[in-house]
Symmetry: C2
Subunit: 223 residues, 2 copies
DNA sequence: CGGCAATTTGAACATTTTCAATACGGGTGG
DNA sequence: CCACCCGTATTGAAAATGTTCAAATTGCCG
């Protein structure tokens, strides 16, 4: 519960990983900093999972190749500050998805072996829980959620949940896929929301104008 | 990687949790067995997260209330042997979803405090990784996967991925929601697959007849 | 053997996707 | 500093797909 949140991870002393390593109490964090520019691929689905990363700053998209057409990929999540990336390396030989930087990112990384050593001896309760969790998370293919309302409704809801910090950089294609629709549909939904005055939208900015209206369109326990 | 799989968890000595507790080496596992009949609710979304469970046998559905209509709920996953349930208790005050037994299940459970103690001292690397992972997993609302093919295609793919063991008990309503469609659509898709001879389907049995045909319908890198 | 609930089927309807054309906005090079 | 170009986003109209609602069927259970 007291996990690092939106304060910003500025140093190893304010980083959960750093603290767990005992930085400041004579400990040393084995993960090393790297900064990567926006647009860069951190790792690619299917390649040997050699490195595990921790996000200190910035935002990334996780995506997986469409099975229909391996040349296209469908975004399946966004990760930001405080997330681990590539943890599947602990239970899988290869990465299960592709991670790409959406903004400039600051990552701390370590090889699988180093990370493994950092976690402590195998077979401890905490490691077991972690590994079982990862095992099951990786095994489960990404599933479509049930049809939970129309496109307009899903978009309205998404806007309400929006973390201020994550919003700006996410391209339409990513967002639309996350919401289970094609970019055109997202465009239309945003246009409609703008038309009724719920939001202000331009090609690259987005602002909620009337949160109450948005909520009612989202179908939140009606008002 | 050597995590308990389909062999069956028959005793604490073959259970990951038991082994991590040192059962057989003088240790004692703090989780206690419970058997619950099919159909029973294990916990409900929103209620205080007091107990964490480990699945030793059987299958459960996890679901979350639809935001449109809190009276209905949409299944968002199936958990079986070897999965932890209600782990969100470590980072959240309340359960984030509802767990219901699909078959008779054998669970081992412990209160949050007991489980917490079992995990060992807070702030260790393994615990940190576990907690960060859970934190992010809980925070992320279940997202629809991108429109990854038509209903027929998704159903065909699902059939191919099907774990033999999980198949039998899952009702249509659950399956259909997992696949992002209404039960009627699933019915029709199954009927069509049966019509072309890819599967044999009856109201409560399901058998793959022609795996190759199914794969081609699923759009697996074309043949 | 009846009643019930889940599933299947049918047909009309609504929505979303598709395909194609257009408008932007940012970056580049003159 | 401005014109040009390219990729992303938007818009339009038609087509396909999935949903809805209602009715019929089936299997299960008392």
């Amino acid at each position: 519960m007291s996990i690092a949140a939106s304060i910003g991870i500025t140093s190893c002393a304010t980083c959960p990983v750093g603290r767990a390593s005992g930085v400041g109490r004579g400990g040393h964090c084995p993960l090393v900093d790297r900064t990567r520019p926006a647009g860069e691929w951190i790792y690619v689905e299917g390649e040997p999972a050699g490195t595990i990363w921790f996000v200190k700053r910035g935002t990334l998209v996780l995506s997986r190749a469409l099975r229909d057409d391996a040349s296209r990929e469908s975004p399946l999540g966004v990760r930001g500050e405080g997330a681990f990336l590539g943890l599947e390396a602990l239970v899988r030989p290869t990465y299960t998805d592709t991670a790409r930087a959406l903004t400039e990112v600051k990552l701390c990384g370590a090889s699988r072996d180093v990370f493994d050593a950092w976690l402590g001896p195998p077979g401890t309760p905490a490691r077991t829980a972690l590994e079982q969790t990862l095992e099951h998370a990786c095994a489960e293919p990404p599933r479509a959620a049930g049809p939970d309302g129309t496109a307009l409704r899903r978009v309205a809801r998404w806007l309400l949940e929006l973390r201020q910090d994550r919003a700006p950089a996410i391209p339409r294609r990513v967002t639309s896929n996350l919401l289970g629709m094609v970019p055109e549909t997202l465009s239309r939904a945003l246009a409609r929301l703008a038309a009724v005055g719920a939001i202000d939208v331009s090609r690259r900015s987005l602002r909620i104008r009337d949160r109450g209206l948005l909520a009612s369109l989202a179908g939140e326990r009606t008002g």
